[in-house]
């Protein structure tokens, strides 16, 4: 018994000093980063981490911040809000991080915002798009390098009304993102006095990946436009099966989640998008920063960036620029700097409003065309630029 207790005590003794040890005077500037590297969203998280790494590389190549090199402390949020919160705590309390790029998902953000506020560490999310987050107490500590769902939904609602569609179907991810865009779209339609009906809504589980009957139901309800809200990996499956089920004769509306050449690596998915998607949305900047980012990313990691790689890249850059602007590695100063920050990121011009949301409202409407010069044979092109006030 005593032996056993000693064993246990030894185990504890091994772990606790590590927990409690305080690092010496920092030689680098730490930027925390929370991405979901395991669990349901692990594929996205893995790519977004590449975006963050690219940003850090560039920052350091440009001389770092405050004369020091930047160190990225990446943590795995496990696609579990509780784990995400734990990683925030770890970054703040153990690593002494003063600014965090993340969390990735809205759930983790919801848990993390109050903590960030109390501990005066700003969070810059790259992909938590739920508009409800702006209503939380402490949202002034929460900045978004991504645009919110409702803006996007309204842009799409305008497209529907412009084109005069009257029978809308939707197939959206069953999470805050998918349902958020769908809800905003319907609100936008109602506010715009749209005369039509939503014929069928499907909230799909991204793990199921067998959507034939769901798509068949959409087909059978005879809509004239279908809204899809997906990320890249599950979008590919939906598009592929939609093509197989013969839904390419209906007009589809896409969103930022299915923008990018990543969706073209599955030829069926590319073919479907080219045939069916009449318009998709995404945020844009004025210059060529996105194309430069894509080029660098592709060169570095051998594949094209997908959704939120650019915003992750921008979030890390925003953190670095804010530290530089603050002149001191301190959460409060960084937050103040962030509120005044303005720069041209990969995903467009970045500045934050008083709630910490991205102020820019520049969207482009895109579609997919064939382009034999690209590796996949397809590319996205802009149809129109939309600016929300």
């Amino acid at each position: 018994m005593i032996k056993r207790l000693l064993l246990v005590a030894a185990t504890l003794a091994l772990l606790i000093p590590v927990t409690a040890c305080a690092p010496a005077e920092a030689e680098t500037i730490k930027i925390g980063c929370i991405l979901d590297l395991s669990g349901d969203l692990a594929p996205m998280g893995a790519r977004m981490l590449d975006g963050a790494k690219l940003a850090v590389e560039e920052i350091n190549a440009a001389g770092g911040v405050l004369g020091k090199q930047v160190e990225l402390v990446a943590e795995d949020g496990k696609t579990d809000p509780a784990a995400g919160l734990d990683r925030v705590k770890k970054l703040i309390e153990i690593d002494g991080v003063q600014v965090i790029a993340g969390p990735m998902i809205s759930g983790s953000s919801k848990l993390a915002i109050p903590y960030a506020k109390e501990h005066k560490v700003p969070l810059i999310t790259m992909s938590a798009t739920a508009f409800e987050l702006s209503e939380l107490e402490g949202t002034e500590w929460f900045f978004r390098a991504c645009l919110m769902d409702d803006a996007q939904g309204r842009v799409l609602a305008d497209v529907i009304m412009d084109k005069g569609y009257t029978r809308v179907a939707s197939i959206v991810l069953d999470n805050l993102y998918g349902k958020g865009v769908e809800k905003a779209l319907i609100e936008g339609l109602e506010e715009g006095g749209w005369q039509g009906e939503v014929v069928v809504t499907v909230h799909y589980d991204e793990a199921k990946k067998d959507y034939r009957t769901e798509l068949g139901q959409i087909k059978d309800s005879n809509p004239d436009v279908v809204l899809i809200v997906s990320y890249a990996d599950d979008g590919i499956i939906v598009f592929k099966q939609a093509l197989e089920m013969g839904l390419d004769s209906i007009a589809w509306l896409g969103c930022d989640g299915n923008y990018g050449s990543g969706l073209f690596k599955e030829p069926r998915s590319a073919e479907f998008m080219e045939k069916a998607i009449v318009a998709g949305t995404r945020t844009v900047g004025s210059g060529s920063t996105y194309d430069e980012f894509v080029a660098k990313y592709t060169e570095e990691f051998g594949e094209a960036p997908e959704i939120y790689c650019d915003t992750t890249y921008d979030a890390v850059w925003a953190a670095a620029k804010a530290i530089e602007a603050a002149g001191v590695y301190d959460g409060v100063a960084i937050r103040t700097a962030l509120t005044k920050l303005e720069f041209e990121g990969a995903s467009g011009p970045i500045s934050f409003n008083e709630k910490g949301d991205r102020a820019s409202g520049s969207f482009e409407l895109w579609k997919v065309v064939k382009d034999p010069t690209t590796e996949t044979g397809y590319k996205n092109v802009r149809i129109k630029l939309v600016t929300l006030e």
Partner: protein, 294 residues
């Protein structure tokens, strides 16, 4: 108007995949007497090996199926001999074996994640869709149904007409008498694990070709597959065939019902779980009594 013919055809596709996945599970469950949750990871592993052979080495899908079958089978046997057999010999309870299989699942899943990253991979082979009457069909779906059919016939032949197949059935129903008949029951169990894990790999490749491959490929469908194995009666291959199509039908008709009722289609995942729970409560032996021979 609901295109019922399509719904039923879709059920066949869903059911075929579940069947291929469930056969190995039900056989090993029947013989080793514990539910192997790492079966999910055998599927995932198979899918990755298949991808490696078909896409990275460019040797085509048929060879990929074969190689994945063999390698995953081998991994299955090694896992059984390295973990489950020693545990069983030490008198581990069914719960311990089950937890061990979950732990093995962690190891395999994250080893795969470390080896191939968590980014999904896609088979490039494509099959075009065509209309056949009211149906939309693609070549892959036909292949999947065909594979399930061939598998059923092959397993039927194996279990009914070969020595080892009969020995599998014999050992599953009465291990002591099997020993007394001179059957090396340990070897029969290894062979069953080989076949079971190999078939899991085949299911993984089909799932991968139909959708995508990532480290959770197997875990995504393991609970419906458990539902099939249990509804069919543990260890009962013929029950599993019926159960796979019952669950396929229930899921796809369920989607139609859910949409008609205005409920979230996410519940589709829950339909198989619900059948699972009801089977266990009402009729834990599953459909086994209908198919006594297996």
């Amino acid at each position: 108007m609901v295109n019922w013919a399509q719904v039923i055809f879709n059920s066949g596709v869903t059911g075929s995949l579940y069947l291929i996945g469930a056969v190995g599970l039900t056989l090993t469950y029947g013989l080793s007497k514990f539910p192997n949750f790492a079966h999910a990871e055998f599927m995932t592993l198979g899918a990755y090996i298949g991808y490696f052979v078909a896409e990275q080495l460019g040797l085509g899908l048929p060879l990929a199926l074969l190689v994945a079958f063999l390698i995953a089978g081998l991994v299955g046997v090694l896992c059984y001999r390295g973990i489950f057999q020693p545990l069983a010999k030490r008198g581990a309870s069914i719960i311990h074996l089950m937890v061990a299989s979950i732990a093995l699942g962690f190891i395999l899943r994250h080893s795969i994640g470390a080896a191939w990253t968590w980014k999904p991979l896609y088979f490039t082979a494509t099959w075009s869709a065509f209309d056949a009457g009211p149906l939309r069909i693609t070549g892959l779906w036909l292949w999947l149904i065909f594979a399930a059919l061939v598998l059923s016939l092959a397993m039927h032949f194996l279990l009914m007409n070969t020595k080892i197949g009969k020995a599998i059935r014999a050992s599953s129903s009465n291990p002591e008498l099997a020993l007394a008949s001179g059957i090396n029951v340990d070897r029969v169990i290894w062979i069953t694990w080989f076949i079971g894990a190999g078939l899991a790999a085949v299911a993984g490749i089909f799932r991968g070709a139909d959708t995508q491959i990532w480290p959770m490929t197997g875990w995504d469908i393991i609970l419906p597959i458990f539902a099939v194995a249990i509804l069919g009666g543990i260890g009962n291959f013929y029950g599993a065939i019926a159960a796979a199509f019952i669950i396929g039908l229930a899921e796809n008709i369920g989607v139609v019902g859910l949409i008609a009722l205005g409920l979230s289609t996410t519940y589709r995942t829950g339909i198989a779980f619900l059948i699972l729970i009801i089977t266990l409560i009402v009729r834990p032996q599953g459909l086994a009594m209908l198919f006594r021979r297996a």
